[in-house]
Each structure stands twice: as structure tokens, then as C-alpha cells.
């Protein structure tokens, strides 16, 4: 059997996001098992373990599942990721953190066991700025951009990048932290109301998202100038604000909705036979899709590993090789029943981060759905690469690692 543990959180302050993600993740593997008999003929086992977004429970879950022969982990928590990075390198298991975790893990030269393609936070920041550049006619010079962020490792991630970008494009960046959980954001939004920034970028998670969108609507901030990272752009976040949320934008690194061919199979093999992991409403929602996307990539990496190893029952080290050799093309996505769902990418020894493109989606309150307003926008690698190099080198130095891929 192929063991891919699902460290999920269906309880605690971030359960609202954790639940659909875990469901998407589970359902895809169920589909593979039901439809194809697993991957390469090997069944996939997905033991689920509840972390409640709590680092200690994360350790417990990791320790209790790794003995089962786990091939890869995807804990959906920046905190747990940081904790697992050194442990998993020592244990020789792959850590896959799409769109979250430690950005500089994109540098495969230092982080042998971590992969975070197709995009990371810094990519997100850069894509957002690029989109804004486009929106304001190619120049952000003299514009004011405010970043509202979750006052934690996760929220702080984009600041460094945005500071660089501010220098490069000449906009003025104001960063306002919001303490977790973030039910009270009056002072931050009054500040926004007073400063009247041209754009507001937003890095939130959990209840903070709903409150921010509500407050933005309350102060009548133009919603189409308010852009959230992909973790702040789910249906859950916008629905409570009702019509007020109309026009809110968020990044996304994959498509949403159930209009992809794969859902026909899902319906046939998973939903209808009652094997779905969650309720029907969640299917095709933003976070569900993302959980599914992570499962797709892991499954593809395993497939690649099987191909490289020449046998189906691959071990953790072989799966890592699969991750490193993974190439996902548009054609492959279409084959999987997800045409144009995600961007194509190809990993290398040094590049564990992928192209980093993201799209912008916008909330249509009346229709109650997200619509894509752009295609994939590529990030500004010129700015990002040196930052990634610097941060990962600092880590290498602290941890006493030597660079690979020479």
C-alpha cells in the first residue's frame, strides 16, 4: 500500500478552512482507489490525523503515522511545516507544502526534502503587485498599498518581498498586523479609512477573513481594490458579508467549480456511492479544490516515482525522487480531467518551487460564485530569486547544511 497521511484540522479556530481541504484531499485518493485501483495498481491509504492546527498535535500525528511507511506529508499549517522540515529531512520523507509553509524551501539546493510548487507566498505577493501594476496602467509610482496581515509567521511571509517590490516600483507600503483570531479589526480599518490607500492586500486565515471583508464593506472601501492571498479567498470568507463582498478579489493558483470533467468521475465513483469525505456543498469550492489539487500533485509524484523505480510499491526515498523529477504539463492536466485547472511546471534538483503563477478571481455576490478575471500571471522572479537564495542560505548556515545540486 501507498501511505499518504492526511494531517488535517477539522476542529479548532481554523476548522472552517481545514475541513473542505481535507475532504478534497481524501476524495481524490478515494477516486483513484475506486476508479483505478490506486496508483500503478497499488492502493493508496490515507490515514487521517487531527492536528487542530496545533503544533504539538502535529508532532504527535507525524510520529504516529510515519511508522506506517508514510510517503509524503501535507500538514496545511505553516507552524507544523517549520517543525517538520528538519525532522523529515532526518527521517527521509517528503514534505509537500503547496502555497504555504516556508517560501525559501523552493530552493532545492538547501531543502532536499521539501517541495512547494506550484506557487508560494512570495510569488503571491509579486503576482498581486504585477496585477496592480497592470490595473493602474503600468506604474505604481507614488501609489499607496496597505498590507493587512495575520500576525504570525504566515502573515509575515510576504512583507520582505513587498518591501523589495515597493522599492522597485516606487509605491508606499504600509503593513498593518491583525492579531489572531482577528474578530476585532476596527482600528486597522479606521486606519485604512483615514489613509485611503489605493489598494489593500490581505493575508488572513480563519475568522479574520470574514471580519476583514465585512469591515471593508462597512467602511465602503472599493472592494475591487481589495485583494486577498489564496487563503483569504474562499466562499466561506465572502458569504457572511452578503452583497457587501461583491467585487472582492483574491489570488488563486488553480481553478474552482465543478465544471471539470473529473467531477463526472467523482460523482460516479465517490459521491454517489456515498464514499465522499464531506458534505456535497463543499465540492468544487475553493478550498476543496485546493485540497484536491495537492492530492493530484502528490499522486502524480508517486506515479513518477513508480516510473523511475520500476516498481509500484515505492518507498519514501523513491517518492522524493518522483517529486524532484515531476513534470506536469497542460496535456497531463487535461488527461486527469482538470484541463487548465493548474499551471504546468517541471521540478529540478534546484527548483522545488515551480513557476509561481497565480490568477485573480473575483467574487460575484449575486451569483454566489467566484469568476476568474485573469489567466496565470507570472511572478517577478528577478526580485524573488535573490530573496529565496538569501533566506535559504541563512538556514543552511544555521543548520550546518551543504548545498546540493552542484
Amino acid at each position: 500500500d501507498l501511505v499518504v497521511p492526511n494531517l488535517s484540522y477539522r476542529t479548532g479556530p481554523f476548522a472552517a478552512g481545514g475541513i473542505p481541504y481535507a475532504d478534497g484531499f481524501n476524495d481524490y485518493f478515494t477516486l483513484l482507489n475506486e476508479r483505478d485501483g490506486g496508483i500503478g495498481g497499488e492502493k493508496v491509504v490515507v490515514p487521517e490525523c487531527e492536528t487542530a492546527y496545533n503544533t504539538e498535535k502535529g508532532v504527535e500525528c507525524y510520529e504516529s503515522t510515519k511508522g506506517m511507511g508514510a510517503l509524503a506529508y501535507n500538514p496545511l499549517s505553516t507552524g507544523i511545516t517549520y517543525q517538520l522540515i528538519p525532522k523529515m529531512a532526518a527521517d527521509g520523507i517528503t514534505l509537500y507544502t503547496p502555497g504555504y509553509g516556508r517560501t525559501s524551501a523552493a530552493n532545492g539546493k538547501v531543502f532536499e526534502w521539501v517541495f512547494n510548487y506550484p506557487a508560494n507566498y512570495w510569488d503571491g505577493a509579486s503576482v498581486a503587485v504585477k496585477y496592480l501594476l497592470d490595473q493602474s496602467g503600468g506604474s505604481l509610482d507614488g501609489k499607496k498599498i496597505t498590507l493587512l496581515y495575520h500576525n504570525s509567521a504566515y502573515g509575515k511571509e510576504p512583507i520582505r518581498t513587498l518591501e523589495e517590490l515597493a522599492k522597485k516600483h516606487g509605491f508606499k507600503l504600509t503593513a498593518l498586523p491583525i492579531d489572531s483570531p482577528g474578530q476585532e479589526q476596527k482600528s486597522q480599518w479606521l486606519q485604512v479609512r483615514r489613509d485611503k490607500p489605493d489598494y489593500v492586500l490581505f493575508w488572513g486565515w480563519g475568522v479574520m477573513n470574514q471580519v476583514a471583508i465585512q469591515e471593508a464593506a462597512n467602511i465602503k472601501f472599493p472592494m475591487d481594490h481589495f485583494i486577498g492571498i489564496w487563503w483569504s479567498g474562499s466562499e466561506n470568507d465572502v458569504k457572511p458579508a452578503g452583497a457587501g463582498a461583491n467585487g472582492y478579489k483574491a489570488l488563486t493558483m488553480h481553478g474552482v467549480g465543478t465544471e471539470y470533467p473529473i467531477y463526472a468521475d467523482m460523482k460516479k465513483y465517490v459521491y454517489d456511492p456515498g464514499k465522499a469525505s464531506g458534505p456535497a456543498e463543499a465540492e468544487g469550492s475553493v478550498i476543496y479544490s485546493r485540497g484536491m489539487y495537492a492530492a493530484v500533485v502528490i499522486a502524480e509524484a508517486i506515479r513518477k516515482a513508480q516510473e523511475l523505480a520500476g516498481h509500484a510499491n515505492v518507498n519514501a526515498a523513491e517518492v522524493r525522487n518522483g517529486f524532484e523529477a515531476l513534470e506536469i504539463t497542460d496535456a497531463r492536466m487535461a488527461e486527469l480531467g482538470l484541463p487548465n485547472f493548474g499551471q504546468p511546471f517541471a521540478a529540478t534538483c534546484a527548483d522545488h518551487g515551480g513557476p509561481g503563477g497565480a490568477m485573480i478571481q473575483q467574487w460575484d455576490a449575486a451569483a454566489g460564485k467566484w469568476t476568474l478575471v485573469t489567466g496565470f500571471i507570472a511572478p517577478d522572479k528577478e526580485v524573488l530569486d535573490p530573496l529565496i537564495a538569501a533566506d535559504s542560505e541563512a538556514y543552511a548556515k544555521e543548520a550546518g547544511l551543504t548545498e546540493r545540486c552542484k
Binding site: T11, A16, I178, Q183, E184, S187, G244
Partner: protein, 328 residues
């Protein structure tokens, strides 16, 4: 008028409003502390539970659907009704009273006369239990609560201030409603506790359980009474906060915003809760607004506590708390 002054006024106004929202939660604490010397940590969870129940009842959710489905493999979800808000609120209030009775029967009754810290611990146990129970009963997903309260900027105030100062102040309609409700609650509860026989009995119980029993005050009745009231106050807080941020686990964490309010106002004073709320709300907002940017922001959480701490150093029983009797 100079801009800074205008902003300060606006922030102050909003701080006061935020303070009222904290006070709503603090009120429940005060009631229970006053009547039993119990520092009820579960107050936040009570608010969450009330809000969950309200949404569940209003939208006709099947309680425990999740468990039932897990066991029977069925797909129960909803009764398919949508109740009017008022009816749902009344029903929820009823549930809170039942909850109070159950808590008294299963927990408090057995802990008569124990040290404060033990009672405090028991309420934390209760908080855990209720949190799990609420989730099992109604599910952990995020829910939207809408009982028709107005939200968003108050246009009248904005235009009035705009014409006066040339700058329209922002005040949230929901906050205004909350303020009105809070004032009404505080007035009613103060009158109740100071001037009624039950109010006196309530304070007696807080002082000495045994002596209260010995004069014939039924602890059980008093406790059911205050826990019911506290439950209903929690429902009010739950409605206000839930309308603002949706109903989900984090709602229970508003308890942490109420603690400094409580400390500053005094654990035993109902008016203290509101005055404390106003001071804390205003203080933390002004600090965050003017000094926050200089030291990195997100100061509100600790500043509220530090502010309360400073007050306490001068008045160890809080602004309106009962004097701590020190005699030998």
C-alpha cells in the same frame, strides 16, 4: 479642526463602541461571579454555543446530524424550515435556561463550598465539554448568523459629522444597536441585583455558601437563575459578535477580550462592566491608532491587559469592585 484631532475623535468613538461589545461578554462573567464567586471561564463558549444553537434552530438544522450520519450512514441535514428570528431567539433562550439547569445539576451542585480556583477549573472543564458538544451537535463549519440587525456605516452620523467638521465619522450600525442593548441590560441587571430580594441573596451566596444555605437561600435556585441570565446575556453577545464575524469556534475566544474589561471594572460590578468596557475599548484603540504604528502594531491584546493592570495597581479591586476586606 486639525485632522489628528478629528481622527482621534473618530477612533475614540469607535473604541467606545468596541468597548460596549466587550462589555456584553463581560456582563455574563460579572453576573456569575457576583452570585457564586465563580470565575466562569466558559462564558465565551456559552456565547458560541448560544449562537450555534440560534443558527441551528433558525435554519432547521438537525442536531447531531453528523453523529447520526456517521453511525447510520444516512444523510440527515435539515428539517427544511426557516424560523423567524424572534421565535428562534426565544427558543434559544429556552435552551440556555435548560442548559443552566443541567449545569447546576451535574456540576455546580457537587462543588458547593469549594475553593474559587477549583470552581474556576470546573468551568474550564465545562468550556471544553461545551465546545466539543456544540461542535458535535451543530457541526464545526462556519455559519452565517442573520437576525436582521443593521450593519455597515451609519450614514446619518457620517453626514452630520461631515457637515460639522468636514470629515464624516465612521460608526458601525451594529455597534450602535449593541450599545443600546448593553445599556438596557446593564440598567435592568443593576436594578435587579441592588434592589431585589433575589439580588441580595445572590450577593450573600457569593460571600459564603454555607452561611447562605444556613439562612435558607437555595443555592440551586440562585445558581440556575444566574446561569440562565448569564446564558441569555451570552446569547445577546453571541448574536452581536456572530452577526459581525459569522458563527464558528473563534467566537468563544471573545472571552479573552472581556477579561481586562472585567478586571478594570471590578469582577462584581455590573455598571463596572460597561465602564470598564468603554475605558478599555477607547484606550486600546487610541493606543493602537497613534502608537501602534511606531512599535509594530497589533498591540490591542496586550495593551488592554496592561492598561487594566496599571489601574489595578492603584485600585486592587477594580474601579467599582467590592473592596477587598483585609482584617485579622
Amino acid at each position: 479642526m486639525p485632522d489628528q484631532l478629528l481622527y482621534a475623535m473618530e477612533v475614540t468613538l469607535n473604541g467606545l463602541m468596541a468597548g460596549v461589545m466587550y462589555a456584553l461578554v463581560a456582563l455574563g462573567f460579572v453576573l456569575i461571579y457576583k452570585a457564586s464567586g465563580i470565575f466562569n471561564y466558559a462564558q465565551g463558549v456559552l456565547a458560541l454555543f448560544a449562537a450555534l444553537t440560534l443558527v441551528g434552530i433558525q435554519q432547521g438544522q438537525v442536531p447531531f446530524a453528523h453523529v447520526i450520519n456517521a453511525i447510520t450512514g444516512g444523510h440527515l441535514e435539515s428539517f427544511g424550515w426557516q424560523l423567524p428570528s424572534i421565535l428562534a431567539i426565544l427558543l434559544t433562550a429556552g435552551v440556555m435556561v435548560v442548559l443552566a439547569i443541567v449545569i447546576e445539576k451535574l456540576v455546580l451542585k457537587h462543588l458547593v463550598g469549594q475553593a474559587e480556583i477549583i470552581l474556576f477549573m470546573a468551568t474550564i472543564g465545562l468550556a471544553y465539554f461545551l465546545e466539543g458538544f456544540g461542535d458535535v451537535m451543530w457541526g464545526a463549519d462556519i455559519k452565517t448568523l442573520d437576525v436582521g440587525l443593521p450593519q455597515g456605516i451609519n450614514e446619518t452620523l457620517e453626514s452630520v459629522t461631515d457637515s460639522l467638521f468636514g470629515y464624516g465619522f465612521f460608526v458601525d450600525n451594529l455597534d450602535i444597536v449593541a450599545a443600546l442593548v448593553a445599556v438596557a441590560l446593564v440598567t435592568a441587571l443593576t436594578l435587579f441585583s441592588q434592589y431585589s430580594k433575589q439580588g441580595r441573596a445572590l450577593r450573600a451566596v457569593a460571600d459564603d455558601h454555607q452561611a447562605a444555605l444556613s439562612v435558607g437561600i437555595s443555592l440551586r435556585f440562585i445558581w440556575v437563575l444566574v446561569w440562565s441570565i448569564a446564558g441569555i446575556v451570552a446569547l445577546v453577545a453571541g448574536i452581536m459578535w456572530g452577526s459581525k464575524s459569522g458563527v464558528q469556534f473563534s467566537l468563544s475566544l471573545i472571552a479573552l477580550k472581556a477579561l481586562p474589561v472585567l478586571m478594570l471594572g471590578g469582577f462584581t460590578s455590573i455598571p463596572g462592566a460597561i465602564v470598564g468596557g468603554l475605558i478599555i475599548g477607547m484606550g486600546e484603540k487610541l493606543f493602537e491608532f497613534f502608537l501602534g504604528p511606531l512599535i509594530g502594531g497589533a498591540t490591542e491584546n496586550w495593551f488592554a491587559y496592561v492598561l487594566a493592570l496599571v489601574f489595578l495597581v492603584f485600585r486592587p479591586q477594580g474601579l467599582f469592585g467590592e473592596r477587598i476586606i483585609e482584617r485579622v
